[in-house]
């Protein structure tokens, strides 16, 4: 603890980031530029999320990190350890117990409460970027609310695949104003973005942007009248806990093409198993 300031960043940096967070909360969905710092990890490992977490953590917080829903991947473990060492905060894998949850590409299955903060790691914050490479132009499009181009992307999807094939980082409109990239969460999670009790903060370290959704914000996934948004998931039950309402990962389990589907949210899955729900790949009867 004596080697570092609390939560690694110096207080001036945290103030700067908090100002950006407050501005982001005041203008939901608007990308606030901030002076992203070098962090002791490579870009793409969550430097944006880590800086936001560092700026909002207090010594009384309980911290949880999930990577694609899992608490036990290298990335999740190393970020959790990072804050254990630099902030000395409590850590947990239980969604309910955490006060700050840093996430890479998932929203926990368990509904979040007020008093909780969900911090997203964002690789590319600009939803218009793939069709319009000029930053000056995309900024103008946001400020003038010119979002026709976003629908061009969805149009291209339908014309090529017959349906909207975008399955993650599915663009949303926030409070009828800003179009926002919800980070690469599966579109299954999109409905959870809106009307959430917890504060949602998004940090993009390399791109130096922070944006936010205050509690109970209206968030709409973009779509066409004749191709409405659908929050899709694999059409199976979880092989471990038999849940039918959770987002599933597909696992290849042998060399003959055998596979199983399990909850991507490990905490949710383990809690269900502990409560006696047993899936078909876990010795239980066929859940479906």
């Amino acid at each position: 603890m004596i080697e570092y300031n609390f939560a690694y960043l110096d207080e001036q940096t945290k103030r700067m980031i908090r100002r950006a967070i407050l501005k982001g909360l005041a203008i939901p969905g608007y990308q606030v530029p901030f002076a992203s710092r070098e962090m002791p990890m490579p870009y793409g490992w969550g430097t944006g999320g880590v800086q936001v977490s560092a700026a909002v953590l207090t010594p009384d917080d309980t911290f949880k990190v999930i990577d694609q829903g899992a608490d036990d991947t290298t990335n999740a473990v190393s970020i959790r350890t990072f804050f254990e060492r630099t902030a000395g905060v409590q850590t947990t894998t239980a969604t309910q117990e955490a006060t700050v949850i840093q996430t890479r590409h998932r929203i926990p299955e368990e509904p979040l409460n007020d008093g909780q903060i969900l911090v997203y790691q964002v690789p590319i914050p600009e939803p218009l970027r793939f069709l319009e490479p000029r930053e000056s132009e995309t900024r103008k499009m946001h400020s003038l609310e010119e979002y026709g181009l976003m629908h061009v992307k969805l149009y291209e999807d339908i014309s090529r695949h017959g349906h909207i094939a975008t399955s993650y980082a599915y663009p949303v409109k926030v409070e009828g104003r800003y179009v926002m990239d919800p980070s690469p969460i599966p579109k299954f999670d999109n409905p959870k973005l809106g009307d959430m009790a917890a504060i949602q903060l998004f940090g993009a370290g390399r791109e130096q942007r922070i944006y936010a959704l205050p509690p109970y914000t209206q968030v709409t996934s973009l779509d066409f009248e004749d191709h409405p948004f659908e929050a899709s998931k694999a059409d199976h039950g979880c092989g471990m806990c038999a849940a039918t309402d959770s987002y599933l990962d597909e696992l290849i389990i042998d060399d003959t093409g055998g596979r199983m589907f399990v909850c991507s949210d490990t905490d949710y899955c383990e809690a269900r198993q502990a409560a006696g729900h047993i899936g078909k790949d876990n010795g239980g009867k066929d859940a479906a």
Partner: protein
């Protein structure tokens, strides 16, 4: 009848160099005006000033907009002017790739303007895009192909479809046939002539090709060194030019 567009005293300087000086004219609904002159005569500067791409040093560009009547487009706010650019106005670039999204399918290119003004029904957008490809003589089977796979003439026709799909009233064209084969030019000109007639479009066409203005334009302005030296009925200016420069320009055309 009142003019659709009233241009008054447009002046643009580049330092001490004059881009265009004190240009004024009225354009009435359904009229097509050509602007001719050699390279550097200020015709493109004038076009860009009128279309809002360049800020002139002086002058007014008053347009009779569908939503709120006569407005000086130069003092409009940027969102208003950009909205005008997607609805009442259209701009056809000389190089199709400046006016198209090369990474987006032909249908997406045509549909973008529709989506930009709020259309949200995929089937309708696609039907309109298909209809417009037909009108510019591109086979409907190319709807999902990217413009990178199109010939130069097809790209130019796609650009025109993309511009006209929202039913604009005024089209700015910068050398629309420049860089195209002569045979492709004729087809494009005939197509443009039909569209102008059927849609009742007004247009301002900048070109150095006198054959283009003879076919498309009702009226002609001849520019030299930033000044309009002669203006009038197209065939009158071409067949009986009054100004020394116009006479030189007309007599310089090679006869085939």
């Amino acid at each position: 009848m009142t003019p659709l567009l009233s241009v008054e005293g447009i002046t643009k300087r580049y330092g001490t160099h004059i881009g265009c000086a004190d240009v004024s004219f009225d354009l009435y609904p359904g009229e097509v005006m050509g602007i001719v002159g050699e390279s550097g005569s200020g015709k493109s500067t004038l076009l860009n000033c009128m279309a809002g791409h360049l800020a002139p040093d002086a002058g007014q560009v008053i347009f009779d907009s569908r939503t709120d009547g006569f407005r000086d487009t130069l003092t409009m706010s940027e969102p208003e002017r950009r909205m005008l650019g997607r609805t009442d106005w259209a701009f056809v670039h000389q190089h199709a790739r400046d006016g198209l999204r090369m990474g987006v399918s032909a249908g997406g290119n045509v549909g973008e303007r529709l989506m930009a003004v709020g259309e949200r029904h995929y089937g309708d957008i696609r039907d309109k895009a298909t209809d417009w490809l037909g009108r510019v003589e591109i086979d409907a089977s190319r709807l999902d192909d990217r413009p990178t796979t199109f010939s130069g003439g097809m790209q130019q026709r796609l650009q025109i479809a993309r511009n006209l799909v929202t039913g604009p009233r005024l089209v700015f064209m910068d050398e629309p046939t420049g860089g195209l084969d002569v045979s492709v030019q004729a087809r494009l000109l005939d197509l443009l002539r039909g569209l102008v007639r059927d849609m009742g479009l007004s247009a301002i066409i900048v070109t150095h090709d006198l054959a283009v203005v003879r076919l498309l334009a009702d009226r002609l302005m001849v520019m030299k060194s930033g000044h309009v030296v002669e203006a009038g009925l197209t065939d009158q200016v071409l067949d009986d030019p009054q100004h020394a420069y116009s006479q030189l320009l007309v007599s310089s055309v090679l006869q085939v």
